[in-house]
Structures are given as C-alpha cells and as structure tokens.
C-alpha cells in the first residue's frame, strides 16, 4: 500500500518561494505564467491494512500544519 500526500500553503497565505519562482520564469521569458505555488510531496510506504483515515490522521498531526497548509491524499 502506498500513499502520496500533497501539502500546499493555503490560498491566502503568502508563498514567497513560489513568487520567486514566478519572477525567475518571467525573467527567462516564460511570459504566460500568472502564478506559482510551491508545495511538498510526501510518499508513504504503508502496511497492507493502512487506510486513508490513517493517513489523514498523520496529516492532521504531523505532515501538514493546518494553520497554514492544506493537504490532499492519493491512496495507491
């Protein structure tokens, strides 16, 4: 069992790294980029009986800080 967790800064939380990437892309001539948000991908190898609820609990308690971040889970 595997899970992939995406952690992103919430909308409305300034993402200065994403902004810096956007500026760099603009400076390189990629003029169609209107916004960049940078996040994290966390891959988990899980025991066969692990559930999405287990991963949700991991996200709530450690993998994401829900004050500033949102997360999504893909079970594979």
């Amino acid at each position: 069992m595997k899970a992939r967790v995406h952690v992103m800064l919430k909308n409305g939380v300034l993402d200065p790294q994403g902004e810096a990437v956007r500026h760099a892309l603009g400076a390189m001539g990629f003029d169609k980029v209107e916004g960049v948000r940078q996040g994290k991908v966390i891959d988990l190898d899980l025991a066969a009986d692990a559930t999405e609820a287990d991963v949700t609990e991991m996200c709530e308690k450690l993998l994401a800080n829900t004050v500033i971040e949102s997360y999504s889970i893909e079970m594979k």
């Binding site: 450690l62 800080n65 004050v67 500033i68």
Partner: protein, 222 residues
C-alpha cells in the same frame, strides 16, 4: 526558582538561554528531548533557538512531537510559565500552545542582526520590567520568522492584548509586525528575537536582561 531548558538535536541557543536564566538567579537544569518528564518543581521552561531536527518537514514540527514537548504542553496547561525563543517559538506554535505559525521570511533571506523591538504590552511577567512603547535592541537570527495567523486569531490576539513585541521596521513580513505573542493566560511567551543574546555587557547590549529579572522576581514570589 527553577528553570528547565529543553535541548533538542540541533538546538544551538540552549546554553545562552540557560546562562540568562542563571544570571537572573534561576537554578537551571537542561532537559533532553527524549525525557518525558520535567524536573520536579520547575517554574519555567525555556524552549531555545536553533534548528531542532534540522528544520525537517517544517521548523519545529518534529520537535513538537518529541516526548519532552508533551511534558511542556502539560506544564503549560497546568498554568506553568514557558518562554520559547526563535525555534522555540516555532515549536510552541507547532504544539498548539501558542496560536499561528511562522512562515519563511518574506524576503526569503536568513536575517541575522539586531533589530528595534517595541514593547507592545506591559501586562505579562515577561514584559512587566519594561514600559509599553519602549524600544529595545534585540538580535534576530532566523529564516522562518514571518508570523502568520488567520484573521480571527489575529483579532483575538489584539483584543486580548496578547501581542508582546512588535518590530519597529518589519524585517520578515510578519503580520501586524508581530515579533512575539502571549498565551491566553499570559504565562507563555513565544518570540523570534533573542533576549538571551542581549543579556550581558559582552553581548553588546543588555536590553533583554529586564525580562529575565522580572521573571525571576515573579516566580520567586509566586
């Protein structure tokens, strides 16, 4: 008067914080992150600056789950005093003892210099040695000191006079120039600037000394 200073792998201001407490008259013990209890009779817990667990995942995230942090949470819930400086502030927000979070500095740079810090309230054991509006010279040294909280939390902090310190010139993008905040019972302070680095003539400034002296005075009479 007993203080305990928590030491995580990657802490680097633990000894400075211990010395500042000692010079104010505290009996200080160092507590390892794997310990699950604080020493008997501890009045205040210091959570020091540094890079606990290499800042992996998020600053303070893994430290907040360490055995000793559970004890620190219980200490705070019992009404015990705690001071989190820099990474210690990040850890206290990650434990939920203090609200909000510390984001990457808006300018993306690590900043290490002495800043002008304004005392925003006298109404705490940490700040009662100052006068509201005083401007202190206190060093900062951080990459993730950009205080963020949702609008409701910010409003509550302001309504309850829980902003302890603000930056005169905001170095990192913190909302409302916030540099340090108090818990609801005003017994826990988290701040990004380092008062323990301005607590001895040899530091080039002693504006932090009044905090440790005031703490010692209150705890002694409590």
């Amino acid at each position: 008067m007993k203080a305990a200073v928590v030491v995580f792998p990657g802490s680097n201001c633990d000894r400075d914080l211990a010395v500042a407490f000692e010079q104010a008259g505290f009996d200080v013990s160092m507590v390892w992150h794997k310990d699950s209890v604080l020493p008997e009779g501890v009045d205040i817990v210091g959570v020091p600056g540094g890079f606990s667990y290499g800042d992996y995942l998020r600053c303070g995230a893994i430290a907040a789950q360490s055995p000793i942090c559970q004890a620190v949470v219980e200490h705070a819930n019992r009404g015990g005093y705690a001071l989190g400086v820099c990474n210690g502030f990040q850890i206290l927000t990650e434990t939920g003892i203090l609200p909000g979070a510390l984001l990457r500095n808006a300018g993306l740079k690590y900043i290490c210099r002495t800043v002008d810090l304004q005392v925003a309230t006298e109404d705490s054991v940490f700040t009662q040695g100052y006068t509201k509006g005083d401007v202190l010279g206190i060093p900062i040294a951080h990459h993730d000191g950009n205080y963020f909280a949702d609008a409701g939390t910010l409003a509550a902090l302001k309504d309850q006079d829980r902003v302890a310190f603000t930056y005169v010139q905001n170095p990192n993008g913190s909302l409302e120039d916030i540099a340090g905040i108090l818990s609801e019972n005003r017994r826990v302070l988290g701040m990004m600037p380092h008062p323990e680095r301005a607590a001895d003539e040899g530091h080039g400034g002693t504006d932090g000394t009044a905090m440790f002296r005031a703490l010692a005075g209150i705890v002694a009479t409590a």
